[in-house]
């Protein structure tokens, strides 16, 4: 049980909240990609469940502190800037933005070992299409989600967030 009696969130919930904090996209935007479950699994398979357990515990604690303080400082200090987790954070952000997994560094692997799946790969055609970078750019994935005839002639706009 976390403080003030709320039940401990599930690992998937923690993963979702972490993803929201790292990407700048809200829960509905991330769910709309249809990839939360896929990326949760991808992460677990690549860093291993044990390390994921450490990460999620650290994230849950940091997010609880940030909720109390109404800022993101705990997450920044305890997860993002924590050398133990930062290589994973980098790959996770890129995963959400680009739909591809980018391998962890040699330094990370020296400590934690690596898995066979920790190689550069496009997770799936859907992952490519749902890359957040295209929304951030006010565009659409090249080769998918076309905006319609003549749309490119109009002034660009970025979604409010």
């Amino acid at each position: 049980m976390a403080d003030n009696g709320t039940p401990t969130p599930s690992p998937q919930q923690i993963f979702t909240e972490l993803s929201v904090a790292l990407t700048g996209f809200n829960r509905a935007e991330l769910a709309g990609t249809g990839l939360i479950e896929t990326y949760y699994t991808t992460l677990l398979r690549i860093i291993g469940e044990r390390e994921a357990g450490h990460l999620f515990a650290a994230v849950a604690e940091a997010l609880a502190a940030d909720r109390k303080n109404h800022d993101g400082e705990a997450l920044r200090r305890q997860v993002v800037e924590n050398p133990r987790y930062s290589p994973v954070v980098v790959s996770l952000i890129k995963l959400w933005y680009l739909g591809s997994w980018y391998p962890l560094s040699g330094g990370y692997r020296d400590i934690h070992g690596s898995t066979a799946e920790d190689v550069e790969h496009v997770v799936s055609p859907q992952a490519y299409r749902e890359g957040l970078v295209w929304i951030a750019a006010g565009a659409h994935p090249m080769g998918a989600k076309p905006p319609g005839f003549g749309s490119w002639a109009e002034p660009p706009s970025l979604p409010v967030f």
Partner: protein, 389 residues
């Protein structure tokens, strides 16, 4: 046999056509909800079938608008009075009981399920699934079937006492070159003959199909192939019967038979479990905002379509050049929103519904008219900026 409602004045004919534009519009969200609920790349044959019908409904909506414009009336989203009935809104709100046609029953927004397809077949069946016309209850100033409605429209168009020759003017016509993506051609209405031709096209392809068509070959071609390479379209009813039965018609079958040709594979597990829930006031969650954003986009789409029907441009301001020409063809802008809506709908239907475990969100296709409610909706969405972490 009950006497069907007749249209006896030009004023009523115009009101009827305003409602006809709305009637054609009202089926589109029903079909789109099913279409967009299909997971990417799955059920491709079913998707192709539904998509082809949607595109023709858009054509029908355009045809109805062209007839209306030719009668000198600007298509509008505003409620109309028809016969003894007041304030009938052309713009659908779901679940929808048609203000005009009692036989089609309640139109619901459902993902692609057997129940949804049963509904499609009912919409497109000449008698909307009833055994006889008389079995359908009717209210005064209403119609039992879409066929009956268009028959009345056609009869009025054909009656010089209701609309004399000089009523018809080729104004504000959407040209054929602006319609694409589906079968058929836009008919530009300039006189009585072309007006009736336009109505016949609506009836022939789609809902409003005369009952005797059921005894004709199922694959009677409603729109011949423009490429000359074997591509063809048959009635919506026959296309949806195939979807319902999971079989194609053989070329020698009649539309009232059970299709017995090749299997049409439909996997109902490759469909998002979207669940329509009516709007219940402003929601502060990211999910509520996403539903709101969809409604706003949909409202803009409806506005742009009606703007195009009214022959008005869409204004677009270039933030880098305030003096740049702002006028855009409204239909082009509408098409851009259609593409965006698809992506929004697909995303909504992947998003878990926080209140209904096991279900995902369902777009509401709720039109919010310009004015106070629209302003509030815009405000609500703008205020959300910076909220989510």
């Amino acid at each position: 046999m009950t006497e069907s409602t007749r249209i006896t004045s030009l004023k009523d004919l115009k009101a009827a056509l305003q409602l006809a534009v709305g009637l054609e519009l009202s089926t589109i969200p029903v079909y789109l909800t099913a279409l967009y609920s299909i997971e990417a790349g799955r059920n491709t044959d079913a998707a192709q079938t539904i998509r082809s019908v949607v595109m023709e409904e858009m054509l029908h909506m355009t045809l109805a608008a062209n007839v209306l414009n030719a009668l000198g009336e600007v298509p509008s989203t505003r409620p109309v009075d028809f016969q003894d009935r007041r304030n009938l809104s052309p713009i659908p709100a779901y679940p929808l009981d048609s203000p005009l046609v009692s036989g089609i029953g309640t139109l619901e927004l459902l993902p692609l399920t057997p129940r949804a397809v049963d509904g499609f077949v009912r919409i497109e069946h000449p008698l909307h699934g009833a055994a006889t016309l008389d079995a359908i209850p009717v209210q005064s100033g209403g119609f039992r079937t879409i066929g009956e409605f268009y028959d009345a429209v056609d009869a009025a168009l054909n009656d010089p006492a209701i609309c004399p020759d000089d009523v018809f003017r080729p104004v504000r016509q959407i040209p054929d070159s602006d319609y694409y993506g589906g079968a058929g051609h836009v008919i530009e209405v300039k006189d009585r003959a072309t007006a009736r031709e336009a109505v016949l096209k609506i009836v022939d392809q789609g809902e409003g199909l005369p009952e005797e068509y059921l005894h004709r070959p199922a694959k009677t071609v409603t729109d011949a192939d423009r490429l000359g390479s074997g591509w063809q379209m048959y009635s919506h009813y026959a296309r949806f019967r195939e979807l319902q039965c999971g079989r194609r018609f053989r070329p020698d079958q009649r539309a009232d038979q059970n299709p017995e040709g090749a299997m049409l594979l439909v996997d109902h597990t490759a469909v998002q479990p979207a669940l329509y829930t009516p709007h219940n006031g402003g929601s502060d969650s990211p999910e509520g905002a996403a539903l709101d954003a969809f409604d706003l986009a949909y409202s803009h789409l409806v506005d742009d379509i009606y703007r195009a029907f009214a022959g008005e441009p869409k204004e677009v301001v270039d933030p880098l050049d305030r003096h740049a020409d702002r006028e855009r063809p409204a239909l082009r802008s509408a098409v851009h929103i259609m593409y965006a809506l698809k992506n929004m709908a697909v995303a909504l239907m992947r998003t878990p519904n926080p209140a209904k475990p096991g279900h995902t969100l369902c777009p509401r296709f709720s039109y919010v008219p310009p004015g106070g409610d629209r302003d509030k909706l815009v405000q609500r969405l703008e205020n959300r900026g910076g909220q989510d972490r």
